[in-house]
Symmetry: none
Subunit: 139 residues, 3 copies
């Protein structure tokens, strides 16, 4: 199966914290970064996700934000540092590719944001992804 | 491959409108509803998505909102009518399952919203999904 | 530090409702509007978010929908009225800026939606934001 979801990061589940309807799943990516996904408890059960499970973390490009440096005091759990490898700009939107440890991320952001942050090839950035925007695929 | 993404609706692509970096893809679901997905142009090319392509529309539960009836004058392109089949409530969040033509949708919404709208088994609802929240899988 | 996240609204936390893994945080914006954010409980604890905390509500442009008037019977908790100040249209997507009490919001929506709703400078709109799409930054 091919997915339009641009960001697919392989890793291994470190812990699962089940709630009543939601669960948070922490995964160590193959690139070394740790990420947190908030998914439905039902999905965790259906996929048999547990500590040690091989998964891929899936993130739609439109869910990836960029910061020009690490951000403290933020509820966004996932911060992945990297370097901009390319920027494609349209009239309203832009896609920014970011080389990160172990792979590449694509972020779809507004053209305004690219202009304001002066994002260009070589810019150091931190990709920000809200936990609720990460899905998991059983690898 | 198994996905934590709860909502996977099969259909056939009706049209593709390419922009510079994004594209909108209209799909007729097997249940008869038409939906619009805003994905990166790159994804459309990589997957070879074109009129007639068999796809599945993927939507994370946290991206599905519910209304108690059709809503006009709204930028949200996708409105799928259905009937609540079950509600599971936690302390902060709730999951609502909605039977729709041709399948079922799961929405993860706040407990507050379930209480305010008095959602229960049998409630008529319309599921609202923003185009940027729909991914596509080549079937 | 600069963020690609276009929408950053300052406010003060009014209440926190913790679940097992998620929490809902109600914040009164400086513009007077009240908003609800659904974030991980872990994030609330890490940031020490409690009643009275000064925060900024962060919302990615792709997560903001627009309606031409208030919508009732909707699970989307956050409805912020305003007036369109500008529209930038691409082939597939458009960005709409909305002046709201105390600031400005940017919404990235499909070009189709802008055409259908005839959004233009001066249009009265209500910005709709799902609770799960709001992140918080400690101010």
């Amino acid at each position: 199966m091919s997915l339009s979801i641009r960001n697919q990061l392989p890793g291994t589940v470190v812990s699962v914290t089940p709630g009543t309807v939601m669960a948070t799943v922490k995964t160590r990516l193959n690139g070394g970064q740790q990420i947190t996904a908030a998914v439905t408890l039902e999905a965790v059960k259906d996929l048999g996700i547990a500590e040690g499970s091989a998964v891929r973390a899936l993130v739609k490009s439109t869910e990836v934000s960029l910061a020009t440096g690490p951000v403290t005091g933020l509820t966004i759990r996932n911060q992945i540092p990297g370097t901009v490898s390319s920027v494609a700009t349209g009239d309203a939107m832009a896609t920014v590719k970011v080389a990160v440890e172990g792979g590449e991320l694509t972020a779809a952001v507004t053209k305004d944001a690219v202009d304001d942050l002066r994002l260009a090839e070589g810019s150091s950035v931190v990709a920000l992804i809200k936990s609720t925007e990460i899905s998991l695929a059983a690898a």
